[in-house]
């Protein structure tokens, strides 16, 4: 008999057996257990499971083997070697011993040598495992090359063991001549293929989750600012378009509690924006405040508007803000297409994200309300002290100087009129100065010689805009906490100058009392907040003070004023 031909025949026969074996391996990679285990950290329970799985593989290898003159040409080695590579010498040895004992029990003149060699092969795999771990090459645990070479060496070792232990020697030599080549090749290739199946499955899961995450992130990024403006037909339309483009579903609809706010995709010829919700699934989602899913299989979605509607399945997710249902997001697929699980997850996830954005939008709205309320507060803060002291001053001045008293009353009226009038958020510098002027004329009358005013205002800046009610509180602050607490002459300097890229407004007094008080009062806090809100975060209010010498409050606004 031609030895080579026979061997080749054996190789093919073994490969054929091996295919069955690989199919089982493939099925294994589809099992939930395979998904859950992680190569680098194996818990005792997982090791035990792996032991069973590989032992079964190894024993199956024996059964699928070919009977060759009282011996079995087999693929038993794959299970033992791979167990060793993946799980270490303990696992490899245990699997090898189990399969070896099983083989030993089947008898034949190679029973002992095969039993021992399988154990040795498992341990050999384990040595490779240790080597790879020690040299930080964990990623090669699932390398087909490593599996191939290791199995190759293991099978050669087995042949040597058979030659040494099997009696009679002649028969052993004859056997090895027949089975050596097919078994070495078949086992090595089988191990390599087995490993690559495992690896590819792993990779597929990873890639799937990468695309999934990328999609989700992209959608999040594209929708992030939209719903901050609130939920209306305009924002809903934008969001629906993004979801439709990114998920690739048949159609996307967004509703509030009663009507359709947006519809994008197939069927938009008869699903009109602004019409009341017609779908029973969407209504159910709103009524029961839960996710409703009609997969198009058992539960079908049927369009209540048109029989010709191509859509056949729907996922309807409630949109909630602070646990209050405000609408739904709906993903549709046409009748001829399956509703992908990933799209279902994406749909649910994106709705949570959008709910958060709506909440954020509400927060912004409330913050704006707060800013407005703060303005009211700032205006209401006009101290009664100021009013009554002004009136007292006027009543004293009437005795000697009726004209001046009349003038003061006009300024007081102007001041209060400006305070009461609230038109929008911004005012020109000129309007602000006019307000301050009236205030200062009255304070000057109160303090007379104790208050001296110096102004340095760039006339070209008169028309720039500031948050309304910015200057007066600062000047008031300088007088109330600075000048009025001084015994000597107080000086207030008000300057508005242009600087590169900004306009600088400073109010300086020569009292230097700020450090003693140590913090901004409510009035200044409000001014600063409003500047930041209306002119940008880079602008604001800064206080510097040299005790007993001066306090300077500096405000910056953008070069062209606040928009």
């Amino acid at each position: 008999m031609d030895l080579l031909t026979f061997s080749l025949h054996n190789v093919f026969a073994l490969l054929q057996q091996m295919s069955v074996y690989l199919v089982i391996a493939y099925l294994f990679t589809k099992s939930p257990f395979f998904r859950s285990f992680h190569l680098r950290i194996l818990h005792p329970r997982q090791l035990l499971l792996l032991y069973f799985v590989f032992s079964v593989f190894s024993i199956l290898g024996t059964y699928f083997g070919l009977q060759v003159s009282d011996a079995i040409a087999n693929t038993r080695a794959i299970g033992a070697v791979l167990a060793g590579i993946i799980g270490g010498p303990l696992l490899g040895g245990a699997v090898g011993l189990t399969a070896g004992l099983h083989r030993f029990a089947l008898g034949g003149f190679t029973a002992l040598s095969c039993g021992i060699s399988t154990t040795v092969e498992g341990l050999l795999g384990g040595l490779v495992h240790i080597y790879l771990m020690r040299s930080y090459q964990q990623h090669r645990l699932l390398s087909p090359t490593v599996a191939f070479l290791t199995t190759l060496v293991a099978e050669v070792t087995q042949m040597v063991i058979i030659l040494i232990l099997s009696k009679p020697f002649d028969q052993a030599v004859a056997l090895v001549r027949i089975i050596a080549l097919p078994m070495i090749l078949a086992n090595s290739c089988g191990a390599a293929i087995f490993v690559s199946i495992i690896r590819d499955q792993r990779k597929m899961y990873d890639e799937l989750s990468v695309t999934f995450s990328a999609k989700a992130l992209k959608m999040a990024e594209r929708t992030v600012a939209i719903l901050g403006r609130g939920l209306d037909t305009e924002t809903a339309q934008e969001v629906a378009s993004v979801i439709w483009e990114e998920t690739g579903v048949g159609a996307v609809a967004i509703t509030d509690r009663e009507k359709v706010l947006a519809f994008v995709g197939q069927g938009d010829d008869h699903h009109h924006i602004g019409t009341p919700i017609s779908s029973s699934q969407v209504k159910m989602a709103i009524r029961e405040n839960r996710i409703v899913y009609a997969d198009g299989g058992k539960k079908k979605w049927r369009c209540s508007l048109s029989d010709g509607c191509p859509l056949g399945s729907v996922l309807s997710v409630p949109l909630r803000v602070d646990n209050e249902l405000v609408g739904t997001i709906n993903l549709f697929e046409p009748k001829n297409k399956l509703f992908l699980v990933t799209n279902r997850t994406l749909g649910e996830g994106i709705t949570t994200l959008l709910s958060d954005q709506l909440l954020y939008g509400r927060y912004i709205e409330q913050k704006n309300l707060l800013t407005r309320a703060e303005l009211k507060l700032a205006q209401a803060q006009v101290s009664p002290h100021f009013l009554f002291n002004a009136l007292n001053t006027i009543s004293a001045i009437i005795r000697n100087d009726a004209d001046r008293a009349r003038d003061l009353i006009l300024h007081l009226s102007n001041f209060f009129r400006k305070n009461l009038k609230q038109t929008g958020d911004l005012a020109t510098l000129e309007e602000e100065l006019n307000h301050v002027q009236s205030y200062l004329v009255i304070e000057k009358a109160r303090f007379e010689d104790r208050l001296q005013l110096e102004m340095d205002i760039d006339p070209q800046l008169m028309s720039i805009k500031l948050p309304v009610f910015t200057l007066q509180p600062i000047v008031e602050n300088a007088i109330k906490h600075g000048i009025s607490a001084m015994l000597g002459q107080g000086v207030i300097r008000l300057a508005v100058v242009r600087q590169p890229g900004r306009v600088l407004i400073t109010v300086e007094d020569n009292a230097g009392n700020f450090i003693e008080r140590g913090r901004k009062g409510l009035g200044l806090n409000i001014v600063e907040k409003r500047i930041k809100n209306l002119c940008g975060k880079d602008h604001g209010l800064e206080i510097t003070c040299i005790p007993q010498e001066w306090t300077k409050i500096a405000i910056t606004v953008p070069e062209g004023g606040c928009a």
Partner: protein, 237 residues
């Protein structure tokens, strides 16, 4: 007899107006006007007014603080005058004789005057609850400096006036030694001296029951026989 009044307000026109209104009543003579607490203390000590029309809000030393620094024996009746009832003046109504709101209504002032006349007629002297003084107002150029009691080593009275000594400076104050003895933790060691017990470096005992205190910064002040015993007791010597 006209009631002698001092008007204290930091605003010029407010003082003028108050003075004019008060004089219009015909029952009160304005013997002085001033614009801050320190000047007021000086004038109270000097002129001994019977009544004080006192603005509550004043720079550095406000109306309440001023009253804390007036010696009990010469304490005038006090009428608080304020623009706004921020301090819940009603709570002080029992302590002070009366309060007026700016701008002052002459009819309301007339009632105050009637009350004043009655009180002074009955020779009732004002009793104000005073609080501990924590900072001593001292005049420094045209500023009032408030010296923390912790910094004060001793207070001395000389012909020139009362001065507070810290480790590195001395400041004149209008607050009397008696007031400071009553309303601070400073301890009397001599007819002319108060000492901060925390500021004592050493006590050198002399003959005839006298002693000298050396402060932490090395200044020497005398201890008289009468007060040495008390100081020893206070320091558990």
């Amino acid at each position: 007899m006209m009631i002698r009044a001092l008007i204290v307000d930091d605003e010029l026109h407010a003082r003028e107006e108050m003075a004019a209104l008060v004089q219009e009543t015909g029952a009160i003579e304005v013997i002085g006007c001033c614009g801050n607490g320190i000047d007021a203390l000086k004038l109270i000590n000097k002129l001994r007014p019977e009544v004080l029309f006192l603005d509550v809000q004043m720079p550095v030393v406000d109306g309440f603080e001023l009253l804390n620094m007036v010696t009990r024996e010469i304490m005038p009746h006090v009428v608080f005058v304020t623009a706004y009832d921020q301090y819940s003046l009603k709570a002080f109504e029992e302590k002070t004789l009366d309060y007026l709101l700016k701008p002052v209504d002459p009819n309301r002032l007339a009632k105050t005057v009637a009350k004043l006349q009655q009180t002074i007629g009955e020779n009732r002297s004002p009793v104000y609850q005073t609080e501990e003084i924590r900072r001593i107002p001292c005049l420094l150029g045209n500023r009032i400096k408030l010296i923390d009691l912790d910094e004060v080593e001793f207070i001395a009275t000389t012909i020139a006036g009362v001065h507070a000594a810290t480790a590195d400076a001395e400041y004149f104050t209008e607050v009397t030694l008696k007031v400071l003895e009553e309303r601070t933790q400073l301890f009397r060691c001599h007819k002319q001296y108060l000492v901060n017990l925390d500021g004592i470096g050493e006590i050198i005992l002399l003959e005839a029951g006298l002693a000298t205190i050396v402060t932490r910064s090395g200044k020497k002040i005398p201890v008289s026989r009468r007060y040495l015993k008390l100081i020893k007791k206070k320091l558990y010597i």
